[in-house]
Symmetry: C2
Subunit: 456 residues, 2 copies
């Protein structure tokens, strides 16, 4: 129904599974010692780091500032944030292993810590650590910290049902008058990101005020109106889940349809009227009574009066759980990664193990990596970030090429005597061919000669 | 005694303190809710991320592969690794906050977790997850995970005595015959890194076999000889702490002298004969009896016999604790960061708030950041990674310039009507001047005109 044919039953059986592909491509493993905490192998780590890199570049554009925040906080913080009351089921408690190192609270008991399931309280502490003015807002913090939530062990699976995960977490502290603009920008960020990854289609769902809610109905109405306007402006399909918002604010969910037609909730934008109150957050603004309602004035007398106003907090994640998004990407690409995300971008193979061939192969690898050969003293001038392996073993080219194909390398670069003499390499790029490539195009991609520099 | 004059008593009083500078430059804060877990503000996070970036670039050259590993492991793992026996004092225990979610062990008790103080056991799990051949070695894993160690609360201070920290942690699994080469490369990596940061001088200290030790004395002798040869080759001053090695292997410490003449242990290279045994690690090699001794043969009959051999494990950190190294760097630069590490690289100030001036100032910032202005649809083509702020408020230039100077911006870029017309900006770079710059040089740096592109 989204412009794709329904998969046939046979195709459904063969639907890619990120757990199988994760093993095959050596992306991640799991361990009985850390159920629900996947271990990312070098290949999976490369993909993970490229997702983070991609987001960091966007953060420059969208005005997010990254912060690094603690993993454990005293329970007093989780009491302030309301997590102890509402979220204890899913949390882990941290205590001293040795009683002699236990910290004692004022009540004479051990001061326990909570392992963080979310970053929001930490970001509220940062906001509260300085006096803030209306001129400083919006303030947008981003955080890639690992988070822990205690899922029951029976439910754990691969990268989709985990206990330890990373969100591309962000918190926007803004003036009431800035809500609409911030939502609009976030929707834009989401559209850009899913387009770059080729994921989708997705739809947006607005969850509105529930029967039990916190704050003034008037504030809710205003905020929901701002969300609606931003959604309309975004031009994307959206729907309403009436009364389905959290008690502390309305939200927009990103619901992604995968190639099997299955829906997954990924990104989210959640307004929060409560946490800023719990943490007593405020900023100074002129005409505070109007400011609170998101209104402005030109009345000089009103503008001369400054007062404290509570900022609006927007929790937002574009990818959602990086782990779950990786699972979706693994299945989406089904092992055929685009070059920029490819965990095994290139391998250089030698036709024989004579010295000139091995030397030229090493040189080709250095050029591809952007490493200055033979100068360990200097910082590599311009590392390309490409993951390039080298197989200069004495084994036959056939064996090495089959192994490279089995491992799914994007580019297979072969170096023989003729290549050394011509100052070139021979490249097989068929693994990167689009699925609708013609036989002629494939033939061309199978054997290209070029200078190593031209490959970057 | 290291070529620097002894600081006078007055200078000593004024010695930079990273805690004061950290507040002044808005690098990090601490919280009563997370004693010993510093919170990195955006400025501190920028420096932290640049340290990680720098290391990642070197990892390409030095053959390290980054992995992402769990934060909590079941206590059974810490029993295997020996941490429960030898390190429990410093560890934290993790349990379910809600009893209903507790996992029950075979003995009917709650299966507890340990919050990791080190990455080594996780890296051993990765090594053990596949069959390894002598051809695969050395295998080098790198990890930037947060680590937790339970320091007593009275000892906590700034970034130097903490409970949560990040090591630039690495583990090398190698053949006995590869020890010397790996140590040599690691010493080279250390030399390069401290040179780039301008830190030092440092000395190297080799700690040798203690009275109580594990393994065969012969293996110790061989390993210590390899370390000595690598140290000699490195050409750096080094000394011996006889009998001061850990019971599981000899080590080399990097001992850095700061500008006050105070010594700090930063990097470390630790051989380990024990952990590979505890985790039953092995790789397949021909002539295993010789392989174990680090010897080779050309005897075809011996080479035809494959058998399992225990790899040598080398723990190594170049910076050591990233937090402590940041403290050293903060005090070393005393707020005057080199541009590449500068948390506030540039700010663009407007001379007035007319539209052409504000527009040109925004354009200049976009150019400096490498962001394509006005095209949110496209991925920024070539983000420079520069941290660039903009003050286009209606306040006077004097006020804005003084604020920028107080905040310590590296480059102060001013845009006025004349600049718009000439397609240029006016740059003050005196904050980046070397401490021995002449009055004439300073005057030149104070007022340079150029195109925005020339600033990148
Ligand atoms: Zn949040
Ligand atoms: Zn270690």
């Amino acid at each position: 129904s989204h412009g794709r044919p329904e998969p046939s039953p046979a195709a459904k059986d063969a639907a890619p599974d990120h757990r199988t592909l994760g093993l095959q491509q050596e992306l991640f493993i799991t361990s009985i010692y850390s159920p629900g905490s996947p271990i990312f192998l070098p290949n999976g780590t490369r993909i993970f780091n490229r997702l983070v890199d991609f987001l960091r570049k966007q953060y420059i554009h969208y005005g997010f500032q990254e912060v690094i925040t603690p993993t454990i906080y005293k329970k007093a913080l989780w009491a302030t944030s309301g997590h102890l009351e509402n979220y204890a089921e899913d949390m882990y408690t941290v205590t001293s292993t040795s009683p002699s190192r236990a910290e004692v609270s004022e009540a004479g008991e051990e001061a326990e810590y909570g392992l963080k399931p979310m970053n929001c309280p930490g970001h509220c502490l940062i906001f509260a650590s300085q006096n803030r003015s209306y001129r400083d807002l919006p303030i947008r913090y981003a955080d890639f910290s690992p988070l822990h939530r205690n899922e029951v062990s029976g439910a754990l699976s691969g990268l989709t049902r985990v206990r330890r995960f990373h969100q591309d977490d962000g918190h926007i502290f803004c003036r009431p008058s800035q809500i609409e603009d911030e939502i609009r920008k976030t929707l834009d960020f989401i559209r850009l990101t899913y387009k770059v990854f080729g994921l989708g289609p997705y739809r947006l769902a607005l969850s509105t005020r529930p029967a039990q809610f916190m704050g003034a109905a008037e504030d809710w109405d205003q905020a929901e109106d701002a969300l609606r306007r931003a959604l309309d402006e975004g031009g994307k399909e959206w729907s309403i889940n009436a009364g389905d918002g959290a008690f502390y604010g309305p939200k927009i969910d990103v619901i992604l349809t995968d190639s099997d037609g299955k829906e997954h909730q990924t990104g989210t934008i959640q307004l929060d009227f409560q946490l800023p109150k719990r943490f007593n957050l405020e900023y100074a603004a002129p005409a505070p009574a109007l400011e609170r309602k998101g209104e402005t004035t030109t009345d000089a007398a009103l503008l001369a009066q400054y007062g404290p106003v509570q900022p609006v907090l927007i929790h937002r994640a574009v990818l959602g759980s990086a782990e779950r998004l990786m699972a979706l990407l693994i299945e989406h690409y089904n092992g055929k990664w685009p070059l920029w995300l490819h965990p095994r971008q290139a391998i250089v193979l030698t036709l024989n193990d004579t010295e000139p061939v091995v030397q030229w192969a090493n040189h080709a690898r250095d050029v591809l990596r952007g490493v200055s050969p033979g100068s360990p003293e200097s910082v590599p001038a311009a590392p390309t970030g490409l993951a390039v392996d080298l197989d200069d073993s004495a084994r036959g080219l056939g064996v090495k090429a089959r192994e490279a194909a089995r491992k799914g390398y994007g580019l297979v670069v072969v170096v023989g005597k003729n290549d050394v003499e011509a100052g070139q390499v021979t490249v097989n790029a068929t693994a990167l061919a689009p699925s609708d490539a013609s036989a002629e195009e494939l033939k061309k991609l199978k054997r290209m000669t070029m200078k190593p520099e031209e490959l970057r």
